[in-house]
Amino acid sequence: MNVRTAIDVSGLEVEKFGSADTLWWGNLGLIVVESTSFALLIASYFFFRMRYTQWPPDDAGVPWFTFGLPNLILIVAICLPMSRVNKNAPNASQPWLTKMLAVSAVLMAGTVALRVFEFQTLHTGYSEHSYGSITWALLFMHGIELGFGVGDTAVLAVYSATRELDRKHRADIQTVCTFWNFLAISWVVIFAVVYLGGRML
């Protein structure tokens, strides 16, 4: 088959950031899957509500804000450094990125620790009734995601400290920032369901 050159792409840059990057779309796909899972768990929470005359049931108390509220504030607050990292990842100096990622990872580890304490203030066990099971499931599933957030950020902090960051790895850093924004937004919704739903429904 005879061919002719119609387009020469040698002048195009290698790797781009944001939605031009295939990785951004892959990350979005994972976020869609996670969002759908959270949405189905929330729908299940309201479905179970229909089976009770009192919510929470008699043998469970309302969830306390003792650890839940500080954790909500911390999870949302971490979006600030992560947004700065996201914005500057393509061009920022590597020591700055390392420092920001390390600080963020430590703060994120704090959210996981607070999450462990949150289970103590739900005032229900996971195996007592469907109310307990679904509230634990919402906190646990989101908690696993928090753990992945800590892991991702910590690994990138160590990578940034020990190896040279190329454009691809800088795009990876942006991906973690987007993921954390998703975790924060989803937690605002889940927090409202678990902590306010336990009082208002």
Partner: protein, 653 residues
């Protein structure tokens, strides 16, 4: 085309093809080819298969694996038919029968239908959109090995006599630990998790590939219909599959750590399980059916020799089928006593969804009417698809009506309906697709004479098997019974169905013989034996590991039939690396270049650990945190090993 003509055509081009094949494979004949081959070549031997990120190898692995599961599921179906061929038969015990119908349904839905369609997507999409790879080759490898592990898990349990026995949907409360002690339902739940992880990972990367890696000029309105169908299927997967993963996760935790999601005494809810399952389960039908629509359009276009009629309505129909498919799930639950308002809504939605399918059938009829159809085996399968699907669709409209639905609920009428829909809607087009793309994948054509025997026996066998089941349903034969009394009057129709199954069995054997005969012949197929229009035919058959020597540039919706000569191509990629061009989502304007990672053992290792962890979870809940830690450690190792040398292409693909 008769087999004789086909053979003559092949022989006439044999010499040319042999020279071409040598040019592709032997380094030194062309410096450019040799360079590309060196960069993209896979590692040698079985290690190369374990580590591969080549979408063609992964596609072949997935298609072949899924087809083996299809054969296993078919054998199970044959055993069921033999058991039911006469009253009070004792070929299978009740317990074994339960395991067999559960494994049959689970296999066909989770291990055959969805994976084989995705396998075709993985193999064909990059070729059809004119690029060298899929977006995330290692994720694709991980997805394949996870899927395989899920299949092995199910069949290990089955062959050990502890196969799941609660039906492919594993309804609670039957599947709760109270009524299903032992580990059978746990195996089902963990198998679901593995296959869903695989499907979702594959769907995500197909979406990214289709959106960002199309050849310059292939705007969305020029995209092949098969690619459209894979895109919509992938969207349905990412929105539907989390539901069954959630349901099976809840079921597993109820059984393993005594949560109370579905325990009625603790205000759990069995109906919630049905909602979650069917919110996935009905879209599942469409995510099997939608790629088949793309196959049908492709085959009709090729064998009528002119552009498909109604490209826009066809695309809109696929999109709307994907959307409406999420609004019909409750028609599987009409017998549960839901409020009348919701029953009315879901009846209406179930009726509405027949409209886009009807639009497509009219478009195909017009295409056949306006063109000059060449009745090859591939086209025959498509015509068979229309007959069978229309019948399945019509009984579907009947089942959308609540009074009718409750009357025939859980009878053989439903079995007949969904086999007409699923075999008609997916297996017929799939066989058509296999006959159509076999030369592309293997470089050899399947025999037309045996192919026609294969088709006609399948069509006749299918109708003889499943049509009587409509009547069996009407006269009251329930599903999932392992035997029945002679005075029920179901013997003759059951025997007829079993004879039909025998014909189907023979037909599939003929296909296997046809494939074996073709594979024993030397590579002789022409690059484009059907004179087709798709970009996948613009490279050699089978394609070289780098897909295209020069990446194509697209100028129209019919890239081979309506193009300027010489063919426009793209240059400027760094061919010493795994480099691809990335284009914009809507208009496919080149945006930048990207480097893809090469071959790696880590996806395989991760799949082993994930599946091993889930397997151990069947027996102990304590496995969850060591499994997560190990998975995390492997992902970190994978990330760190993904060094510059691997990214730049050293170490094979």
């Amino acid at each position: 085309m008769t087999e004789r003509e086909e053979t003559q055509l092949e022989l006439a081009d044999a010499e040319l093809d042999c020279v071409k094949a040598q040019a592709l494979r032997a380094p030194g004949l062309g410096e450019h080819d040799a360079q590309l081959h060196e960069v993209w070549k896979p590692r040698k031997g079985w290690v190369g298969w374990l580590m591969t990120g080549d979408h063609k190898r992964l596609g072949i692995l997935q298609i072949v694996t899924a087809f083996i599961f299809f054969l296993l599921g078919g054998l199970e179906a044959m055993l069921m038919r033999l058991q039911l061929m006469r009253a009070e038969n004792n070929l299978l015990s009740a317990d074994l029968y339960n395991q067999i119908f559960t494994t049959h349904g689970t296999t066909m839905m989770f291990l055959f239908a969805v994976p084989i369609m995705q396998g075709f997507g993985i193999y064909l999409v990059p070729l059809m959109i004119g690029t060298r790879s899929i977006a995330f080759p290692r994720l694709a490898a991980f997805a394949y090995w996870t899927y395989l592990a899920g299949g092995i898990m199910l069949y290990t349990a089955f062959f050990l006599g502890i196969g799941p026995d609660n039906g492919w949907f594993s309804y609670v409360p039957l599947a709760n630990s109270d009524f299903s002690p032992g580990k059978r339902a746990d195996y089902w739940a963990q198998m679901i998790t593995l296959t869903e992880i695989s499907s979702m990972a594959t769907a995500i990367q197909l979406i990214a590939t289709i959106f960002k890696m199309r050849a310059p000029g292939m705007s969305l309105n020029r995209m092949p219909l098969f690619v459209w169908s894979i895109l919509i299927q992938s969207f349905v997967v990412v929105f539907a599959m989390p539901a069954v993963a959630t349901a099976s996760g809840m079921l597993a935790s109820d059984r393993l750590i005594q949560t109370k999601f579905f325990q009625i005494a603790q205000n759990g809810d069995a109906i919630l399980y049905q909602h979650l399952f069917w919110y996935f389960g009905h879209p599942e039908v469409y995510l099997i059916f939608i790629p088949a629509l793309g196959i049908v359009s492709t085959i009709i276009q090729t064998f009528t020799g002119r552009s498909i009629f109604g490209y826009l309505p066809l695309v809109l129909s696929i999109v709307s089928t994907g959307f409406i498919g999420f609004g019909v799930w409750v028609h599987h639950m009409f017998a549960t006593g839901l409020p009348q308002l919701s029953q009315s809504f879901f009846t209406a939605a179930s009726l509405v969804i027949s409209i886009p399918t009807t639009v497509q059938i009219y478009c195909w009829i017009v295409s056949l009417w306006r063109g000059k159809p060449r009745f090859t085996t591939a086209l025959l399968w498509v015509l068979g698809f229309v007959q069978v699907l229309v019948m399945g669709g019509l009984t579907g409209v009947m089942l959308a009506s609540v009074p009718f639905n409750t009357q025939v609920h859980d009878t053989y009428f439903v079995v007949a309906h969904f086999h007409y829909v699923l075999i008609g809607g997916a297996v017929f087009p799939l066989f058509g697709g296999i006959y159509y793309w076999f030369p592309k994948i293997t470089g050899r054509t399947l025999g037309e004479t045996l192919g026609k025997w294969n088709f006609w026996l399948f069509l006749i066998g299918f109708n003889v098997t499943f049509f009587p089941m409509h009547i069996l349903g009407f006269i009251g034969m329930p599903r999932r019974v392992y035997t029945y009394l002679p005075q029920m009057g179901w013997d003759n129709l059951s025997l007829t169905a079993t004879i039909g199954a025998g014909i189907l069995f023979t037909s599939v054997w003929l296909f296997l013989i046809n494939a074996a005969k073709a594979l024993r012949r030397p590579v002789l197929a022409l690059d484009n034996p059907w004179h087709a229009d798709g970009l996948e035919w613009a490279t050699s058959s089978p394609p070289p590991v780098y897909n295209y020597k020069r990446l194509p540039v697209v100028e129209s919706r019919d890239p081979l039939w309506k193009r300027t000569d010489p063919m426009p191509v793209l240059t400027g990629l760094d061919e010493t690396k795994h480099e691809v061009v990335i284009t914009s989502v809507l208009d496919a304007i080149p945006s930048h270049r990207e480097h893809l990672p090469g071959a790696s053992p880590w996806p395989f290792v991760l799949a082993i650990v994930v599946s091993g962890g889930l397997w151990v979870l069947v027996y102990t809940s304590y496995a969850w945190w060591p499994s997560l830690l190990l998975i995390g450690a492997i992902i970190v190792a994978w990330y760190y090993r993904n060094s510059k040398t691997e990214r730049s292409g050293a170490g094979g693909f």
